[in-house]
C-alpha cells in the first residue's frame, strides 16, 4: 500500500478523529501530520499491522495525550461558550450538544480520548485500554464518571 495513496484516502478521516480529540482544527492538523511523519518513517510496520488505520489513530491519540501532559501546567482554560441560545422546542437538541461539547472540552485529556474512542470509533473496553495504555477496568471507570457528568443534560432533555 502506497503512503500517498493511503493518506489521500484516509487522511480526512484521521483529521476528523484528531479534531474530535483536540477540539481545535490547527491542533488536529499538527497531530495528524506528526503521526503521519512517524508513520512514514515506519511505513512497512504500519502496513503490516492488522488495522493500519487503528495504528495511526493510536499514534494520534498518544500524541494528543503526550501534548496535553506537557502543556497541562501552562494551559489556561478560557472561553466559556459565549452567549446563550434561545430556548424553544426546536433548539433543545442544539443546546444539549453545545453543553456536551463544553463538558467534553473540560474533561481531562484521557477521559475525553476514552469517550471518543468508545462513542466515535465504537471500540470495546479492551481495545480502548490498549489504545490509552490503561487497564480495561480503568476504562470502564473513566466512561462511567464522564457520563455521570453528562447525566443532568439528559434529565434536562427529558423535561424539555
Amino acid at each position: 500500500m502506497d503512503f500517498d495513496e493511503y493518506v489521500r484516502a484516509r487522511g480526512p478521516a484521521l483529521l476528523r478523529f484528531a479534531y474530535l480529540l483536540s477540539g481545535d482544527r490547527h491542533t488536529a492538523e499538527d497531530l495528524t501530520q506528526t503521526a503521519l511523519q512517524d508513520a512514514l518513517v515506519h511505513w512497512r510496520k504500519v502496513t503490516r499491522a492488522e488495522h493500519p488505520e487503528r495504528y495511526l489513530q493510536r499514534m494520534i491519540t498518544n500524541r494528543f495525550l503526550q501534548s496535553r501532559r506537557r502543556r497541562a501546567s501552562t494551559e489556561v482554560v478560557t472561553a466559556e461558550p459565549s452567549g446563550t441560545a434561545a430556548t424553544g422546542d426546536g433548539m433543545a437538541g442544539v443546546i444539549d450538544r453545545d453543553e456536551i461539547r463544553r463538558l467534553l472540552a473540560h474533561l481531562p485529556a484521557r477521559s475525553r480520548a476514552v469517550l471518543i474512542l468508545r462513542y466515535y470509533l465504537d471500540l470495546d473496553d479492551e481495545a480502548i485500554a490498549a489504545f490509552v495504555g490503561v487497564a480495561p477496568v480503568t476504562v470502564r471507570s473513566i466512561v462511567s464518571r464522564s457520563l455521570g457528568a453528562l447525566r443532568p443534560l439528559a434529565a434536562h432533555r427529558t423535561e424539555s
Binding site: R25, S111, R151, R157
Partner: protein, 239 residues
C-alpha cells in the same frame, strides 16, 4: 472535579454523545492540506535536524575526545608530562630535594640531622611518593607538600629528643626509616630533619601534629613507571 455517578449512564446521554461526535466529525471542514506532502517534508526536516545535531556533536566531541585520550593515554610517547595534570592549577616544578628522594624507592644518601634546639623554621617540605594504578600499570608519583604556617607544634616535635625504649619492651614493628621532612631555617638553609625516635615506632610520633599544619600538596607524575613494584610506599604515612 466530575462527580461519581450514582447509577449507570442513561441511554439518552450515550445517544446524545454519539450524535454530537458524529455531527462534529461531519462538520469538520476539509483543510485542503497535502497531508502526505507535508509529512514527507516533515520527515526530511527531521532528518536534516538529526544530521545537523550529529555533525555538530561530532565536530565538538571528536577534538574533545582526542584531547582527553591524549591526556589519559599513558602509552603515548610524545605526550608531555604536564599533559597528565588534571588540576587547573599548573603544577610547579618539583623541588630538587623531593625529586632526588623520589628517584629511587629508598631515596638517595641524605644525611638526616636533628633539628637544632635553637633553630627557627620558616617552612617545611615533606616529600613523598604516591602510587597510582592507571590502565593496569602502577605509576609512581612524586608528591611534595609545603607549609609555612602553623608550624609551632611540628617544630616542637622535631626538636624533641629521642626517647629510648624502656627495658623489656617487646617491639613488634620496629622501623628505622627516616622521616622525609625538610626544614628551611630562617637563614635560608634546608635541613633534612629526623623524626625523634620514641618508643618502638618512630613513624607515628608526629602524625597528630600534621593535622594542625596546613600543607599545600604538589605533585609530579610519573617518576618511573616500569620499575615500580606493588609495594607500600616508604616514609611516614600521611595524616
Amino acid at each position: 472535579m466530575i462527580p461519581m455517578p450514582s447509577a449507570g449512564p442513561s441511554p439518552d446521554v450515550e445517544a446524545a454523545l454519539r450524535e454530537t461526535l458524529a455531527e462534529d466529525a461531519d462538520a469538520f471542514p476539509g483543510t485542503g492540506l497535502d497531508l502526505a506532502g507535508r509529512a514527507r517534508a516533515g520527515v526530511r526536516r527531521r532528518h536534516r535536524r538529526t544530521l545537523l545535531v550529529t555533525a555538530t556533536a561530532l565536530v565538538l566531541a571528536v577534538p574533545a575526545g582526542w584531547l582527553s585520550w591524549q591526556q589519559l593515554d599513558t602509552t603515548a610517547p610524545q605526550r608531555p608530562a604536564q599533559a597528565f595534570v588534571s588540576s587547573p592549577r599548573p603544577t610547579p616544578p618539583l623541588d630538587p630535594r623531593c625529586r632526588a628522594q623520589a628517584a629511587t624507592l629508598s631515596g638517595p644518601a641524605i644525611r638526616w640531622q636533628r633539628l637544632p634546639a635553637d633553630a627557627r623554621v620558616t617552612e617545611v617540605l615533606r616529600c613523598g611518593v604516591k602510587f597510582e594504578n592507571r590502565n593496569g600499570e602502577l605509576w609512581r608519583v612524586a608528591v611534595q607538600e609545603r607549609a609555612t604556617e602553623g608550624l609551632a607544634g611540628l617544630v616542637a616535635i622535631l626538636k624533641t629528643p629521642d626517647r629510648p625504649i624502656p627495658p623489656g619492651t617487646v617491639c613488634t614493628l620496629l622501623t628505622t626509616t627516616s622521616s622525609p621532612i625538610w626544614a628551611r631555617l630562617d637563614d635560608g638553609r634546608w635541613l633534612p630533619v629526623l623524626w625523634p625516635q620514641a618508643g618502638c615506632n618512630p613513624i607515628f610520633v608526629g602524625r597528630d601534629v600534621y593535622a594542625g599544619v596546613h600543607f599545600v600538596t604538589e605533585r609530579e607524575e610519573p617518576v618511573a613507571a616500569a620499575a615500580v613494584a606493588t609495594v607500600d610506599p616508604p616514609g611516614p604515612k600521611k595524616p
